[in-house]
């Protein structure tokens, strides 16, 4: 508890610092007319990486610069004013942010990402001065300080002894797989029997039902954008993504010419080298008593929830971990953006590179258990304007990622662990980037279904998943998953020495949704279904069970649409649900009844039907929206038509550029009008 409070304080400081940073930018420029050159600098230098700047060149200028560097060395270009500045700042290097990937260079150029460069120079020279000098150069379009844009959603750990792991699934009925520790995974299957009677049956992701249809697909790659994943772990290695060209190629050589060397299971973008998971493993406390952590097995824990190998007689189960037949689990790509306590953790350039790498190397789903603590200054317009490089990489480039069955990358984020702080300050919002309208933000509940105390909630929250809550049920009421053994030492000197361990946080809730998304994509492949990213996310957000009934009243309607249900997602992938309507009668349609378990937290907006279909069905007026969150229709003719329902997930109002709110999405139904229906629901 003490450590949790300390961590919360550290996060408060970070949040205030972040807010303060935004205000500093205003203070610098308010009161003076903002020159065109000054407008190129899009963020503040506070806490930015020293001796580093990100620069976007105009399209034509970038091309000239590239030809210059080939012959004249890295610190010279064809742009003389630039050369003067580089000389003044003792430039060490200037190179593309995104190394050339020969397979994807054309796409990179179409996205304009080839115009972004990173300049390294003497760390003792003021960042602001260098930025201003570069801003005077006409060929430069944008300047961004390389700042940390996010922190890890650190698990809210309780110190002390680790809880013993209980082998055998003897406490649960009808185990599906032979993984000995699966009985500890209440998040997958909760019979309500455990954990000091705090457990509520059904508070899980209903994955056992889903596994009857599919357990994964090896062609699906999930990018874990996080600390490095221990790809040697006994219960992960069979489901790690393998870059075959690099594995079978020469060490030290970029065998596949994707711009990275020896990237066999992913890449470490912080240290620009091999994936690691064992740096700065001893927690440190500063003079103010704030604790900072290095590598804590965060990425490894997340990877296990998504795709630990099923039915291998070892460890735990993974949502999309396959069933050991022909290695059919989804594959984990480790795209590392955190490394120990590096000052380059999750900077703009590191995050941008990770997302681009994921897209270029086949990942169409990404798990992101990190974010920046919420503050009133944050909204979609702010995210888009200020964070230009990462916006382009995530919202444009990764979003264009393609899979045979899913067109468009899907980025899933943790909501954040500042819940207690937010509540005390009357501010309800989730972390960015997760709060951004295009992304899915995941809140957390415990074994009893209630909101975990640490979980962010409110504006931007889209869906809920198990993340554990030690306050309700003790240590084993957290989430059990794979862990890097022997490498984490907390501030009390306790060594976490296990290949499996419990953690809690929205960091742990997030991979449940990512794992379900991967399972759903596997099912889409199985049945030959093709979806756009918007369709996929829409189906995901309605594949839920009632949450509000289990929440304390103050959290109702603020955790997203409901609790993720893997089985329902597969069924929603399968097809369109019909809404039956009796001809001639005024029918009231409660759309909620056709989604989830009938108690989704969804606000209806509109029921869209084409004018041609309205005519065909003999509708003299459009569907009428009712106060009771339903629609009213009257059809004079029999027939059927596809209708589209617009809804809001996560709140009663739609998010805008300037205010964080719910995500608007659509779902199709088949409106079927008949003279009568069998009284038992039978079709004939």
């Amino acid at each position: 508890m003490y450590r949790f409070i300390k961590l919360s304080c550290a996060l408060v400081v970070a949040a205030l610092a972040f807010v303060q940073c935004t205000k500093d930018l205003d203070e610098v420029y308010v009161g003076e007319s903002q020159s065109a050159s000054a407008a190129k600098i899009i963020n503040s230098s506070r806490s930015a990486v020293l001796g580093t700047l990100l620069v976007e060149f105009e399209e034509g200028a970038a091309l000239a610069f590239e030809s210059g560097t080939r012959s004249a060395g890295v610190t010279r270009s064809n742009i003389e004013p630039l050369n003067d500045v580089l000389l003044d700042i003792d430039a060490i290097s200037i190179e593309r942010v995104f190394p050339v990937d020969v397979r994807n260079e054309e796409a990179t150029r179409r996205a304009g990402l080839h115009c972004w460069y990173i300049v390294h120079f003497d760390k003792n020279i003021s960042l602001d001065k260098v930025a201003k000098a570069l801003a005077e150069i006409g060929e430069i379009k944008t300047i961004e300080f390389d700042r940390q844009i996010a922190t890890l959603n650190h698990p809210c750990r309780e110190g002390g002894e680790q809880a013993p792991l209980q082998s055998g699934d003897t406490r649960l009925s009808s185990p599906m797989f032979n993984d000995p520790l699966a009985g500890n995974q209440w998040d997958f299957h909760n019979e309500g029997k455990l954990y000091n009677d705090k457990g509520v049956a059904g508070m899980d992701i209903n994955v056992r039902e889903a596994w009857k249809y599919t357990t994964g697909d090896p062609s699906i790659i999930v990018a874990v954008i996080d600390q490095g994943v221990d790809y040697t772990h006994e219960d992960l290695k069979a489901n790690m993504w393998v870059n075959v060209a690099e594995r079978d190629g020469q060490p030290g050589v970029d065998d596949d010419k994707n711009g990275y060397v020896d990237d066999i299971h992913g890449y470490n973008f912080v240290d620009d080298g091999p994936i690691s998971w064992d740096k700065d493993v001893v927690a440190e406390k500063d003079v103010q008593g704030n604790v900072s952590y290095g590598d804590i097995g965060h990425g490894t824990h997340i990877a296990g929830t998504i795709a630990a190998v099923n039915n291998n007689g070892i460890g735990i189960c993974g949502i999309a971990g396959g069933d050991k037949s022909e290695g059919n689990g989804v594959k984990i790509m480790s795209t590392q953006i955190f490394s120990g306590r590096s000052p380059k953790n999750a900077t703009s350039s590191v995050v941008a590179k990770a997302f681009k790498y994921a897209a270029d190397n086949g990942a169409v789903l990404s798990n992101n258990s990190w974010g920046s603590p919420p503050s009133p200054d944050q909204n979609d317009a702010w995210f888009k304007d200020v964070k230009s490089l990462e916006y382009k990489a995530i919202c444009e480039y990764f979003k264009s990622s393609r899979d045979e069955n899913l067109t468009g990358g899907v980025a899933i984020f943790a909501a954040g662990n500042n819940g207690d702080f937010l509540e005390k300050n009357g501010f309800e919002q989730v972390d960015y980037p997760g709060a951004y309208t295009d992304f899915v933000s995941v809140t957390s509940f415990g074994i009893d279904g209630d909101k975990a105390s640490y979980s962010n909630f409110g504006g931007g929250a889209n869906i809920a998943a198990p993340g554990g809550n030690i306050m309700r049920g003790g240590t084993t009421a957290q989430i059990l998953s794979t862990m890097t053994p022997n490498l984490y030492v907390d501030e009390k000197g306790v060594i976490r020495d296990s290949k499996y361990d419990w953690e809690q946080g929205t960091s742990m809730a997030c991979p449940h949704v990512t794992g379900v998304a991967a399972l759903g994509l596997a099912y889409a492949k199985k049945i030959g279904k093709k979806l756009t990213a918007d369709e996929f996310i829409s189906k995901l957000l309605v594949s839920v069970n009632d949450q509000d009934s289990y929440l304390s009243e103050k959290y109702r309607g603020k955790m997203g649409t409901g609790r993720i249900d893997a089985f329902k997602f597969l069924m929603n992938i399968e097809g369109i649900t019909c809404i039956p309507v009796t001809r001639g009668a005024r029918c009231i349609i409660d759309v909620n009844k056709y989604m989830g378990d009938g108690n989704t937290n969804i606000k209806l907006l509109k029921l869209n039907i084409s004018s041609a279909d309205m005519k065909s069905l003999g509708m003299s007026s459009e569907p009428q929206y009712l106060e009771s969150n339903a629609f009213s229709v009257r059809c004079k003719n029999t027939g059927s038509a596809i209708v589209t329902v617009e809804m809001i997930a996560g709140g009663n109002t739609q998010g805008t550029a300037n205010s964080v709110g719910g995500k608007v999405f659509t779902k199709k139904f088949a409106l079927v009008v008949r003279d009568n229906f069998a009284s038992n629901g039978g079709w004939l």
């Binding site: 097809g575 039956p580 088949a670 229906f677 069998a678």
Partner: protein, 170 residues
Amino acid sequence: MKLTKIFLAILAIFAISCVSESGTTEVPNGGGSTDTTKWEEEGSIVGVWELIKLNGSTKAKPRIYMSLNEDGSFDLYQQADKIYWVYYSGRFSFENNLLKGSYSDGVEWSSEYTVSFATEPTRIRLVSNKEKSIYTAVDEIPQWIVDEARQPEVETTISATRSVAVERFL
């Protein structure tokens, strides 16, 4: 001569429009598409069928598999107003191209259906109260659907779609 050609053209068009629905070309349905399938009155109703078109649409329809068995029993698997599959069974009769039946819980089918047949591929068309459904013959109902289909829920409250005129649509 010109007038004669026009007259003959009009006669030809009129002749096509007047062709009886049974046994020859189908008239365009409400969905706007023109189906040129040749539907016959003769054929076998026994078999396993999958719904492929409802009122001319291949998309605005539920998922339906039904097995009409030799002994007069039927098995129906539907994914209609639920996201999961539901199983029904019962008995049917087929006489003078009229298909009707009742469920094992005693509930009568909502309609009687006039049936016609087509080949290459083998299909049946069920028509009732202006609703047209086309089913194609399949080898079997997918086993995973058979394994996972649920029993119908017993509704004790007013259903999701309530009409003012009737209490329950089911």
